[in-house]
């Protein structure tokens, strides 16, 4: 069974909302990535998302854009990303890992080869930001063959028709984008979140993760009450950007995610969603 499915089952039994940090592989330096992933898990991350840097990250804001540029400057290509995954797996056999990226580098490797190499390295799912359900069939087939899930984004503006279509292809979880905009924007609208998540749940049994625009522990806590998973991206990447070495990067990751985890746990123990879950 895919680690993601396993993990969400465990979490559901424990009534715990998943914390899913995103970092860009190779940022601020390739040397820190694996240690930061471990640090994130130690601080309470239940799944991790690793961004494959791309030169033209159209759906990402300045923080991740800058992270990708730095990672590329340090030569973080696909082989190095997969090497990081392998090294992560040496010490962590259980935490699901999702690769996130853009279509062109994946196709340049060849979707079948990409799927095979990712599976071999210990990847559990792939989220291709610029590959909506409409264009996903070939990739989906290649991933499925290797037991990898394909994660899809759902936006506030996604129509029912598109939602149905995506639900038919999605695996692992559904990623609800909580804002209109690119990653790192700051206009998370909490009031509309509950009905939006409900709409997603109406078409799929898959867990629902919410991300884009969550920075403060209190926001994460509020999201944790309605969603199965909280994704923290730009806010963590932004903090890592100011780190000079591995120790600092790990410390910052633990401190920040530890606070987020604490706020989420406090919220779900007492919040109304604990009952629902």
């Amino acid at each position: 069974m895919n680690r993601i499915d396993q993990r969400f089952r465990q979490l559901a039994r424990r009534g715990r909302t998943a914390l899913v940090p995103y970092i860009t592989a190779g940022h601020p330096h390739p040397e820190v990535t694996v240690d930061v992933l471990h640090g994130a898990v130690e601080a309470g991350a239940d799944l991790v998302e690793l961004g494959m840097p791309f030169s033209d990250v159209m759906a990402d804001g300045p923080v991740i854009q800058n992270a990708c540029a730095q990672a590329l400057q340090h030569g973080t290509d696909l082989d190095r990303v997969l090497e990081m995954v392998r090294r992560f797996r040496e010490r962590d056999a259980d935490t699901p890992l999702i690769l996130m990226g853009y279509t062109n580098p994946i196709e340049r490797r060849g979707v079948e080869r990409f799927a095979a190499e990712s599976a071999e390295a210990g990847v559990d799912a792939l989220l291709v930001v610029d590959c909506p359900a409409d264009e996903a069939e070939d990739l989906k087939a290649a991933l499925q063959q290797r037991g990898l899930h394909q994660i899809f984004l759902v936006a506030p503006t996604t129509t029912d028709h598109r939602l149905q279509r995506m639900a038919g292809l999605a695996g692992g979880f559904v990623y609800y984008v909580s804002i209109k905009g690119v990653t790192g924007s700051s206009s998370l609208d909490l009031s509309s979140l509950a009905p939006a998540v409900k709409r997603v749940r109406a078409v799929t049994e898959l867990p629902v993760a919410v991300g884009f625009g969550i920075r403060e522990p209190e926001q994460a806590a509020a999201v944790a009450r309605v969603a199965d998973a909280v994704v923290i991206g730009s806010a963590l990447v932004d903090r890592l950007d100011r780190c000079a070495n591995v120790e600092e990067a790990v410390a910052v990751t633990r401190e920040y995610l530890g606070r987020v985890r604490g706020a989420m746990d406090a919220a779900t123990e007492t919040g109304p969603a604990a009952v629902e879950a």
Binding site: M58, Q65, N104, D130, K180, G181
Partner: protein, 406 residues
Amino acid sequence: MLEAAQRTHSESVPDASGHFGTFGGRFVSETLMPALEELDRAWKHYLKDADFLAELDRDLAHFVGRPSPLYFAENLTRQMGGARIVFKREDLNHTGAHKINNTVGQGLLARAMGKKRVIAETGAGQHGVASATVAARLGMECVVYMGAEDVRRQAVNVFRMKLLGAEVVSVEAGSRTLKDALNEAMRDWVTNVDDTFYILGTVAGPHPYPAMVRDFNAIVGREARAQSLAEYGRLPDALVACVGGGSNAIGLFHPFIDDEQVAMYGVEAAGRGLAGLEHAASLCAGRVGVLHGSRTYLLDDDAGQIRHTHSVSAGLDYPGVGPEHAWLKDIGRARYVGIDDEQAMKAFHALTRSEGIMPALETAHAVAYGMQLAAQRRSDEIVLINLSGRGDKDINTVAEIEGIQF
């Protein structure tokens, strides 16, 4: 426009999901999909709306100055000693290039859709100026994204945009050229999609842009076709146009696609030579991939990272190309060739001195190839070159290259 839309086979490509054969499509984040669907619906609706089309035709006639003439370049023809060289004079349009055909159309569409703010990306600044012009006239707020390198190269156009009331945002990311400006405009659009219309300036990007921008520029080819028949009693033997994203070329080519006897040549920027990496010729020297929401030919490295490109002309300095060109290349209907910086500069001077027409540096690429082609063809043949824009914006670049200081 109505009648013309029926005359061309614009209904058959792209298909409903925006594919030209295997090219095109919509490779964008889900956050953008509904905006593209809304745009697609609006465009399809207004393309059949008689009032909208009548207003578009009026604006093209009285604001843009259409039809643009078909000009026989007698001196240049004599110089080359071959086929008759004729120019479709898009340089005579208001604001100086073909770009205004598209921005007038998209501007009216933006207004019809109730949007209050328009945004645009620009390379040479021509599309930015054309967008700012339309926004000024329609009373809309306008923000233009432009790579920092292009802001430098095209300072005159930056000033024009500001005079027109637009805000020009200099984009520092990546190669600081057109592709980065396009990324930034897309980001703005996803964030402000409720009140904002993105006027994309070429036939690249996700569906419906490649088809919509083509349809707004196809007026060029429709006029040229009719003018050639009226003036010479026949169609031209060859069409030549420069290709950055490909809008002026597809605008000219599209109404001729079914006229098998008419050869079509798209001219890409070979920069400092196709053998190296310093060019922008994605059809001549690239491979198939996905960029800016569309499957097409592009320039990338072995890891699939988009490469920095080079061309003396900012408007051709782009690592991708519209998907319809990718399709025309693969089915063999159009041929794509490269002209390097030096050849383009020579053609710039040749046309300026022989005909008293100073072309844009983008356009000079088409002129250079058209001249070569004319020299190889018989004198009873017609080579029609799309004179996509005028060179006023480029005089600083030309002066710089020739070491002249003002």
